[in-house]
């Protein structure tokens, strides 16, 4: 076990004001169980889960309420005991409509868990991966890719390195940071399970150098571990937590265009995901809760709350002393990649790492101007694209033209829009363009 200062870092990127001090010192608090939970069936990437309960059913805490529906999909469990009040459409934090199971909680302490696998080292790898899938564990960094799929790579793609992502490069957010400090032991065991399942040789814990306390906590937790284990200290830069950029920063390997991390023998898992893996294997607990940072200058007490997935944002805000003054902008997730929400009646999910409430002084209402061709977005783009040109193609509705200059490689990190002196909403154009390409491809598939 040693600590490496990474000699690499990705090209481009930006240095926004991190504003992490707001919530970085706030220890994780458990949210009192809300009276009503709206549990979305789509808290992950891929097909939404299929509800297996009916309106009026009584569910126990931890009971399966949505079953995995396809290969890229994940199971959803009840975060608390209670009665199923409704199964209805809701708008998720990302603005998409999805089905949700509404549970009126009854405060019962009865739990339904899977058998614990204390002696996991002796358990078959496939069985471990299946257990992690049964527990509905998904990537908790933001995209929500089912962990079971990541842990079952095809046999022709051997994995030699597991990277534990503790970069948390989004400004404001501190959930992973607090997890690393307060749940270091559990995370280390979870990481060891992931490495064991993948049969990987190396384990790297990637943390940005602006979190020395997290680095120290991780060094201590991983000190006793055998094999090629190291904490890799990365340069603080956004988007250091993005998968492809992080793989380069940690290993110097570049994921090929259109490829996956497994193409270069890597798997990246978030620290919170490692915690969920530990919980699923050693306690048989499904993933129903996560730590979420409620922060921003319009929150009375910025906090890191351990909240059930399905809590309405309004309940979270209430637990943090409510809104201070007036919130001009509410963002689900971080300020760079998060989604602006129109109301607080939106449920959290497994991927919700933060809720940001900003006052008017932090929100600039700006009008975008014509591109002045300065090229700053090209310098900032960590994917080496030309955002200015892409956005011009999309604005002219030339979607094929944009696709021709690698629109689909955009990771929507927001670096380009951040540096644009003309204040052009570049990422918004990219999102629209990508949606148009996806729609076109879906239409082509239908025939």
């Amino acid at each position: 076990m040693n600590t490496i200062r990474s000699p690499y870092t990705f090209r481009g990127g930006i240095h926004p004001a991190y504003n992490k001090e707001l919530a970085a010192g706030a220890a994780i608090r458990e949210l009192p169980m809300p009276a009503r939970l709206v549990v979305p069936m789509s808290q992950h990437l891929g097909a939404p889960a299929k509800p297996v309960v009916k309106v009026g059913d009584t569910v126990k805490s931890g009971q399966l309420i949505g079953e995995q529906n396809g290969f890229i999909s994940a199971a959803v469990h009840a975060p608390a005991g209670g009665k199923v009040a409704a199964i209805e459409n809701t708008v998720s934090a990302s603005g998409r409509a999805c089905l949700a199971v509404v549970i009126e909680t009854d405060g019962s302490a009865e739990r339904q868990t899977m058998p614990a696998l204390k002696a996991w080292r002796g358990v078959d790898r496939k069985e471990l991966a299946a257990r992690i899938g049964e527990a509905g564990v998904v990537g908790m960094g933001g995209a929500g890719f089912p962990t079971r799929v990541k842990l079952s790579p095809p046999s022709d793609k051997p994995i030699d390195t597991v990277i534990l992502n503790g970069a948390e490069c989004e400004p404001y957010l501190t959930a992973d940071h607090r997890m690393m400090i307060e749940r270091a032991g559990e995370i280390s065991v979870g990481a060891e399970i992931i490495r064991h399942v993948l049969g990987a040789k190396c384990l790297r814990v990637a943390i940005e150098d602006n979190k020395p306390d997290a680095i120290a906590a991780m060094e201590k937790a991983f000190a006793e571990m055998d094999g090629d284990v190291a904490v890799t200290v990365l340069k603080t830069s956004y988007p250091q937590g993005s998968e492809k950029q992080q793989i380069y920063s940690v290993t110097g390997r570049e994921v090929p265009r259109g490829g996956l991390p497994m193409d270069v023998g890597c798997v990246v898992e978030n620290v919170s995901t490692a915690y969920a893996v530990w919980d699923a294997v050693l306690n048989g607990e499904p993933l129903t809760r996560r730590v979420i940072s409620v922060t921003g200058d319009a929150v009375s007490e910025p906090s890191n709350l351990l909240a059930p997935c399905g809590t309405l944002y309004a309940d979270l805000v209430a637990a943090c002393g409510g809104i201070k003054g007036k919130a001009a902008k509410i963002i689900s997730g971080g300020p760079m990649m998060g989604f602006a929400v129109g109301s607080l009646d939106v449920p959290t999910g497994k991927t919700a790492s933060g809720l940001l409430l900003l006052s008017a002084s932090r929100v600039t209402a700006f009008t975008s101007q014509a591109c002045i061709s300065c090229g700053r977005c090209v310098d900032a783009c960590p994917m080496r694209l030309a955002p200015a040109e892409l956005s011009q193609f999309i604005e002219a509705d030339d979607i094929e033209g944009a696709e021709g200059i690698a629109l689909m490689d955009c990771i929507e990190c927001g670096s380009c829009a951040f540096v644009c002196p003309a204040r052009r909403p570049l990422v918004h154009h990219m999102r629209r363009g990508k949606a148009a390409v996806m729609a076109k491809r879906a239409a082509a598939k239908r025939g």
Binding site: A370, Q392, F393, E395, A396, D398
Partner: protein, 192 residues
């Protein structure tokens, strides 16, 4: 060296479109899409080279011996070029229908393209030999193609840009063409 100078002068210094202002019609007409511009360039190259060869022969073997070159040059040249273009039209329709459809009205328009006639007349004025005439015709067409492709590229970009309302469409295209012409003036003095 002499031939190289001839090419450079025809392509850059005395560019047909941007310095002599010949062939403006297709220059503005088919400069909306690179693919059409490429087709048009190809067609003009072919027609100009062929026209230079045919008109030189005409001048040398028919007009000059009979002393008709003083007053029948324009008439006969146009006649021959028209026939030639028609021929190409028929051939293209047969062997490259998509290109034919893309060029549309502009292919027959080469008939009255002043650039083609200009090349032929200039050949006679300069008193070029056969080979030089053909080379001059070809390089003039090359210059035309260069100007057309640069302009098309610019127009494709302008298409996506957001110019002030009064400049939209043809206005900004003409301004661009003017600036391009100014830029090509920088080549003057390159070849004596």
């Amino acid at each position: 060296m002499e031939y190289l100078l001839l090419i450079v002068s025809a392509v850059l210094v005395n560019n047909f479109v941007l310095s002599r202002f010949l062939g403006i019609c297709p220059f503005l007409g088919v400069s909306k899409k690179i693919s059409t511009a490429l087709g048009m360039s190809g067609a003009v190259m072919f027609v100009m080279t062929m026209a230079s060869a045919v008109t030189w022969c005409l001048q040398k073997f028919l007009l000059a011996p009979f002393g008709l070159d003083k007053f029948l040059q324009t008439l006969t040249f146009i006649l021959v070029i028209a026939a030639l273009v028609q021929l190409i039209d028929i051939v293209m329709k047969r062997f490259a229908p998509p290109l034919h459809a893309a060029l549309g009205i502009f292919l027959p328009l080469i008939t009255t393209n002043c650039a083609v006639l200009g090349a032929a007349v200039l050949n006679m004025k300069e008193g070029f030999g056969f080979f030089k005439s053909v080379l001059f015709g070809f390089s003039a067409a090359l210059g035309f193609a260069l100007a057309l492709l640069i302009f098309t590229g610019l127009r494709e970009k302008i298409e996506r840009a957001d110019p002030p309302r009064c400049f939209r469409g043809v206005a900004i295209s003409l301004v661009t063409a003017g600036l391009l012409s100014l830029a090509f003036m920088g080549f003057s003095g390159l070849v004596k």
